[in-house]
Structure formats: C-alpha cells, structure tokens
Amino acid sequence: MAATRVDEGLAARLEEIRREKGETIAVAEVAEVVESLLTTMTGDLTADDVQLYKELEGLARYIHAARAEISSINPGEIQSDLLPTAADELDAIVEATEKATNQIMDAAEVLEEVSGDVAPEVADKLSDATTRIYEACTFQDITGQRITKVVRTLKQIEERVDGLVRAFHPAGDDAAAAQPAAEGRAKAAGDTPSDEDLLNGPQSAEDAMKQDDIDALLADFD
C-alpha cells in the first residue's frame, strides 16, 4: 500500500485549503478531500483499514446527501427574496401605525379644543377621554421598538444564510443560487400568473397603484 506518498499529497491539499479558506470551506471541497482519502486506500487492507473505509464512505454519502438537501431549501431565495421582503413589510407596519396614531391624535386634539365650548362637567369627561386616547397611543412607540428588534434579528439571519449560500454554492454559481423560486414558478406556468402568485398582500406606497390608475385601467376594459 503506497499510502505514505498519497497521504503527503492529501496533507498538502488540506494545508492548502486551510491556508486559502481558513475555518470556513465549501462542502464540495470536504467531499473532494474525503473521496481523495478513499482512493489512497489501495493494496492489502487490514480489518481496521476496511472499517475506516466504511466510515469514510458513509461520511462521503452523508455530505453529498446533506448538500443536496440544503441546496433544495434554496437558501439563495431566502437571502435574496424572502428576508428583504419580510423586513420591508415590517417597515411598512411601523409607517402605517405611525400614520394611524397621528390621525387618532389629530382627532383627540380637536376634542380637547371643543371642550372649552361646553359645560364644565362635559369638558371634564372629554378631557378624561382624550387622556386615555393619548395613553393608548403609546403603543406605537413600543410596537416600533419591537419591530426594530425583529428587523435586526432578520439581518442576523440574513448574514448566516449568506454564509450557507457561500458554503454550498462555489463562486460563479451565485446567480443560479439567488434565482427566486417565484420566478421559476411563473416560468413553469407560462405567462399567466397562478392564483398563488397573485397573493402578494398590501404593496408599499411606491409600488401601490393609485385609485385613479386603477379606475383608468378598469375603464380600458369597457
């Protein structure tokens, strides 16, 4: 068994990978190293060698299966599409609650103003009611802070997924990794979007159509 010479080659390859990639290396390269190790095991094998061979073969199969499974999750879509969309939706919630809170307070301030024109006992009731409205409006601050925390967590998840994408998709394969699944679905179904593709929820202020545009679009069908 000419193991020593080949082992030296493997050791050199491992050292090269360690030097180039540090502690983070692509799974494909791990599989490559394990397969190289298997090819070194030639000649007369001892019982220990056979056991080691089996273990390594099992490890190689496990790595291939894990790689296929994680690739099928499509981390590229999570990174390029789902996480940014979730963050945008949360930002839109903060914006909407702020707008609603200001509208509620506009109304409450009007009530306070007119309280000067009514009987004192009515004015007191109006004052109590507006105080409760102001107190209730503090929800917007708390909600905003909680959502900011969630967005921060999403950004951390995005960084982890980014690492996963790099580990499972070698350089040059990024475009394929980032291709959104929705795009694939639309292509598969042809030009007509499926019912599922039509379910996008509320749009941001920039993307949403104005009512006049919708009316004009409907008029085109007449």
Binding site: N102, A108, E135, T138
Partner: protein, 134 residues
C-alpha cells in the same frame, strides 16, 4: 415653593408620536412651555444654549433612553457632568425595564424613571416627586 407651570420643559424621544403624546399630556397638566429634541446630542445643544433653571433655562428634562447617536443615559451623564446643567431634574421615560437599566440610570443621577407604556397619572406622580406638588 409652588411649581411654576410656565417653566421650560425639554422632552427628548426619537419617536415623533411619543413627543406629541408627552407634549399633550404635559399640556393637560398645565405645562405648555415645551421644547423637543429627537436624540441626546440635539437635547444637549438645547440645554447648553438655554441653561437650566431661571426664566430662560429648562426646569425639567423628560428623556427616552434608546436613541441614536446619543442615548438618554449618555445625555444624563453629560448633564450631570456639566456644572451649569447638573442640577436640572431629569426623568427617564423608556421601554428599557431591566433592573440593570434602572440601576445604571440611578447611578448616573436620574431623578425618576418611568417605564413605557405609561399613563398620565404615572407621569404626574413622578413629576410631583421631582418638582413638588402642583
């Protein structure tokens, strides 16, 4: 000594809706001479420009904690380290509700501490404890 409701109050919060809420609650309590800032550094500029106490200076600071670039705690430390400002009553109004937060604020010299969400009665009672009855 009676509390002068014409005193200048500085409210500091990065959420404009919260500034508006506190301003309205203060108005209902009779305090209408109110300035606003959206972070600690802007508040510090106003404090240094107007001073503390007297007819022109601030008689009370009500500040949030979690703001950028300068937090409410940093503002509090700057205020307490400034010979001309260190005596101004300073109430923290914040969602930070861990005991270590309260301890840190107390060690920095906070006059009182209100946890969000809060109600008008809490705001008034803390102001009374800091300023005296009104």
């Amino acid at each position: 000594m009676a509390v002068d409701k014409n005193m200048k109050v500085l409210i500091v919060d990065d959420y404009k809706t919260m500034l508006r809420i506190i301003r309205n609650l203060l108005r209902q309590l009779g305090f209408t001479n109110i300035d606003e800032a959206t972070d600690g550094s802007a508040a510090l500029q106003l404090l240094r420009a107007n001073g503390a106490g007297g007819p022109q200076g601030y008689g009370l600071v009500i500040s949030d904690w979690n703001m950028e670039p300068m937090t409410g705690l940093q503002l509090l430390r700057e205020v307490r380290a400034d010979a001309k400002l260190k005596g101004v009553p300073f109430i923290m109004v914040t969602a930070e509700s861990k005991s270590e937060n309260v301890i840190a604020a107390k060690e920095a010299g906070v006059s009182n501490y209100i946890v969000k969400p809060f109600n008008a009665e809490t705001l008034k009672s803390k102001m009374v404890s800091v300023l005296g009855d009104f």
